[in-house]
């Protein structure tokens, strides 16, 4: 790999031993993928996937101590994934005790994050690109981010350029100010390996469609046809929210880092089918295929017929429009069923900045009246608590389903369960 004079100096140890190790790590990373050079990180902000101070992850915090001791806090500020705990989310004494045992490093890591350059304003969310949070890269920006759902959104919906970096590596790119140029940072790496034809009879559930595509294409790039008939050809708030959820499912059920939606996402609009590789494979999705995918999700509850004790909606974090939409749907369904409050303890999750703004609107009070709890928590980290993990939890998040024992239902099914069925 050809390095600039400054990059070579860093690698040679002119800025200290720790910076040399950071550069060596980034160079090895690039060489693995035949990167010819390092390119500057151009986005205003970074984003880190590591927001949790887990006792079992001590080696990570020791590594960050080494970086901080060397005085290498980056010039680039960054947002971080959601906070792992929130006292407003239902949990019993035993669960709380386990949370305390799990997150013994939270205080230490919170301090490290501030020293490393965490953005001001409680920037803990997986959806850092929401307008209320303000970490919105421009098209063509080169990023050093990690968080699979944020990376796939930045690449696909915003047209920024970011590889699926790992936690820790993303921080090293921010600190060094450069990343190896390969994969999604190149025009060639952004071409589509798959043509996916959506032939459903109604607008497909975002998290189910994303799951089906993720499982099929794994790390490759899909070019999706037929979805614009349901989403339109403008990236309005509704389309962006849909693609946020769709992308998160492609990234967690497979490892998609970029997708193109015909007539909708920026590069698909500009280049159309020129983005598709000549030897692209085909995948047709109809109602039967979506049903097959959903029916194949395993249920790992001890008692598959157990009554759900908790419901999470909002992984990735909900947008302002989604919160308002859910509020209206829950109110209407409760009116129809004659209940005042949701029948299953339900938590909607969103970014702290979105929650703050939402609570100032009339919807804040309306949602509170339905009994739904609004939280900034990461549901995945809640479920990582082994005691919580044994609780029958339902969700409309395919990411949460993938990583935990939570059981997946579509948004419509979730709404029915929390407002009418209670089971």
């Amino acid at each position: 790999m050809v390095l600039t004079e400054e990059q070579q100096a860093m690698l040679d140890g002119k800025k200290g031993e720790t910076m040399a190790k950071i550069m060596k790590t980034l160079v090895m990373y690039g060489e693995t993928f035949d990167a010819a050079k390092m390119v500057p990180v151009t986005s205003k902000y970074g984003h880190t996937v590591i927001s949790f101070g887990l006792g079992v992850m001590k080696p990570v915090y020791a590594l960050y101590d080494e970086i901080l001791s060397a005085g290498l806090a980056g010039e680039q500020k960054f947002s971080a994934d959601p906070f792992p705990t929130d006292p407003h989310v239902p949990s019993n004494i035993l669960e709380n005790a386990v949370f305390k045992l799990m997150y013994t490093e939270q205080r230490r890591y919170g301090k490290q994050l501030k020293e490393l350059g965490l953005m001001k304003g409680n920037a803990y969310t997986c959806a850092c690109y929401l307008p209320e949070v303000g970490n919105i890269p421009k098209r063509g920006d080169v990023l050093s981010w990690a968080e699979s759902s944020a990376v796939v959104y930045a690449n696909s919906v915003l047209g920024a350029r970011c590889n699926r970096n790992s936690g820790i590596l993303e921080m090293m790119g921010s600190i060094a100010g450069c990343v190896p140029e390969f994969g999604f940072l190149t025009d060639e790496g952004r071409k589509a390996d798959w043509v996916v034809e959506v032939r459903t009879s109604k607008k497909p559930e975002a998290q189910l469609l994303g799951s089906a595509i993720g499982m099929k294409v794994l790390a490759e790039v899909p070019y999706v046809k037929g979805l614009d008939q349901w989403l339109g050809s403008e990236l309005d708030a509704s389309a962006r929210a849909y693609l946020k959820d769709f992308g998160a499912a492609t990234a967690s059920n497979g490892s998609v880092g970029l997708y193109h939606i015909e007539n909708l996402t920026p590069e698909a609009k500009d280049f159309g089918e020129d983005l598709i590789r000549e030897d692209a494979k085909r995948y047709i999705i109809d109602d039967n295929e979506l049903a097959r995918v959903q029916n194949n999700y395993p249920c790992i509850w001890k008692n598959p017929d157990a009554k759900p004790k908790l419901c999470f909606v909002g992984c990735p974090h909900l947008t302002m429009e989604q919160l308002k939409d859910w509020t209206e749907k829950v109110e209407k369904a409760l009116n129809e069923s004659g209940h005042k409050h949701v029948l299953i303890p339900t938590v909607f999750t969103s970014a702290p900045a979105v929650i703050k703004k939402f609570r100032k609107t009339e919807y804040g009070e309306r949602l509170a009246k339905t009994g739904v709890i609004l939280s900034y928590i990461c549901p995945l980290m809640y479920m990582d608590n082994p005691v919580c993990g044994k609780t029958p939890v339902i969700t409309s998040s395919n990411k949460l389903r993938t990583y935990t024992s939570a059981r997946y239902y579509t948004d419509e099914e979730i709404l029915r369960k929390i407002t009418k069925e209670g089971k």
Partner: protein
């Protein structure tokens, strides 16, 4: 009968271990998170979506897989299991390594004392041939023997 395969070295090293084979994408976070949280000495796979590995012990095994999938915490998770000596004996990829697994291997090589040699591009035939329990020997030049 021993079969020989040649791949590309990501992080070098020698190893001799029993094969553990995943024919589907290996979800690093889903596979390791419960083992880490429960400090499971057998490091049993917790990924419910992986019928090949679910609930099987992964520690010290020659983990044979197509690629890794899932969360971008993947590299950090691999680095952590290496730092805690919970790692497999080696990682053997049939495809080209993905960015998250590469990150984990490179972080472990540069920032921990653990040994976890990683070889990729062993080919589809490799994954078709290896079975759980086979004896795997790997050399520093990327040669893999399976019998």
């Amino acid at each position: 009968m021993s079969r020989k395969f040649i791949g590309r070295v990501i992080t070098p090293g020698k190893a001799n271990a029993e094969a553990l084979v995943s024919h589907v994408g290996f979800n690093t976070l889903a596979s390791y998170q419960m083992a880490l949280l429960l400090n499971d000495k057998n490091v049993k796979c917790g990924d419910q979506n992986n019928p090949d590995l679910y609930k099987k012990s992964m520690i010290g095994k020659a983990l044979c897989l197509p690629e890794t999938i899932g969360s971008t915490t993947g590299g950090m998770v691999l680095y952590t299991i290496c730092s805690k000596n919970m790692q497999p004996a080696c990682l053997l990829f049939s495809k080209s390594i993905d960015s998250l697994a590469a990150s984990g291997a490179i972080l472990a090589a540069n920032w921990s004392d653990a040994k976890m040699p990683v070889i990729d591009r062993l080919g589809e035939e490799f994954l078709n041939y290896v079975e759980d329990g086979m004896s795997i020997t790997i050399e520093e030049d990327g040669t893999v023997y399976a019998e």
